[in-house]
Symmetry: C2
Subunit: 220 residues, 2 copies
Amino acid sequence: MSSSAEENYIKAIFTIAERTGKGASTTAIAAQLSTKASSVTDMVKRLNEKGLVDHRPYHGVTLTDQGTRIATQIIRKHRLWETFLVNHLHYKWDEVHELAEQLEHIDSDDLHDRLDKFMDHPKFDPHGDPIPDKEGRIVDMAGAVPLAEVPKDTLVHIVGVKDSSPAFLKLLDGLGLKLGTQLTVNRRFEFGNSVEVSSRFRSGLLLQEEVSLQLIVKPL
Amino acid sequence: MSSSAEENYIKAIFTIAERTGKGASTTAIAAQLSTKASSVTDMVKRLNEKGLVDHRPYHGVTLTDQGTRIATQIIRKHRLWETFLVNHLHYKWDEVHELAEQLEHIDSDDLHDRLDKFMDHPKFDPHGDPIPDKEGRIVDMAGAVPLAEVPKDTLVHIVGVKDSSPAFLKLLDGLGLKLGTQLTVNRRFEFGNSVEVSSRFRSGLLLQEEVSLQLIVKPL
DNA sequence: CTAATTGTTTAGGCTCGCCTAATTATGGAT
DNA sequence: ATCCATAATTAGGCGAGCCTAAACAATTAG
């Protein structure tokens, strides 16, 4: 029903709305997809005619219920494939995004249900992002907060990353940080709003706000 | 480098050449892809400009070495995915073709090498067709012949099917025949060039030439 | 050898998805 | 309330891939 191009727009609109809490502007969509604003205008018109988006110029594009359903299914497929690639084909967590961007467009609900079952219904992908179930429900990550907001002397463990770019993930690898790693905030510094944390393997690790805002943790 | 559409043409040309031993005519390609001859002319021109095919009008389109390499890689991907779908996601052998047609266009040699490794380098897909290795080498099926050509009182086992259509595969399921099934030709009849075979579970099974030509077996 | 049939290409047109350049509309600052 | 920077749209065009209808070429049958 939807082409890959359409699906990419729908996903972009969804993630922009999620990130900003507002409708996605023409310009924002263009930036997200590395395309031009005029192309976005074109596509938004098409998606609107298909009943997948609403558009109030200068106030953003929002997904209709139907559009939202499509978006969550694409995200489900994306995260299922990422999980498969990491857990079964032994890719590293910073290597799977591009591949999943291709695989997410495979058109078969049944295939993805089977993949889900094959992996025993994983709840989170390799970056800690929740995998929507086949009805589109997403478990909510109650209690999860950026490391930057954690008070001194709290024991937490890493449950996700806000930034899944290869660069950031490789940085974490280099610091010996991965999902599940337990951390305690030892000290908090005014300067650069940085925190000093200790893990079992490394203590006195100083993290700038730039990092600690992207690291999602949960108290233990 | 190649679009899905181009890949489909290349694959079609390859399989027609394999089936007929000759270059693929414009008409044959059109039939294979359920498209029109004029569309084929268009695409053949493009593929020719890319150096993937040669074309002598009225004598058929043939793949260049480069085109052949692409074709075998697509077939490799197709058969790897079919194997994955059947062996790991528990699809039936008549259900996987369409899905593999989508998955075969995923652009990543590495992914398919890993998939190959994950499955322990399978040599044949669920229909008994050989899976090219990453250099494009295909194991040759020495000694494999259509059941129709097997002399009386020979013990054979099924190693492949020439026709992988769901209809034919379901027929085989209905007859209790699958890859590996051992058969003996009890009798051969003039009429319809049919053969009577026995398996461990069923004896006196009469097969028309239409079926026995499609069943590839190997003497034991 | 010619004619008829079949195969192939050409011409022109369509949609999708993208582009650039030019234009218009708007929200926000003054 | 007006003006401006920014956002958005329009207009026109392009390539890929497909189509129909018409023209044309070649194989093969007579």
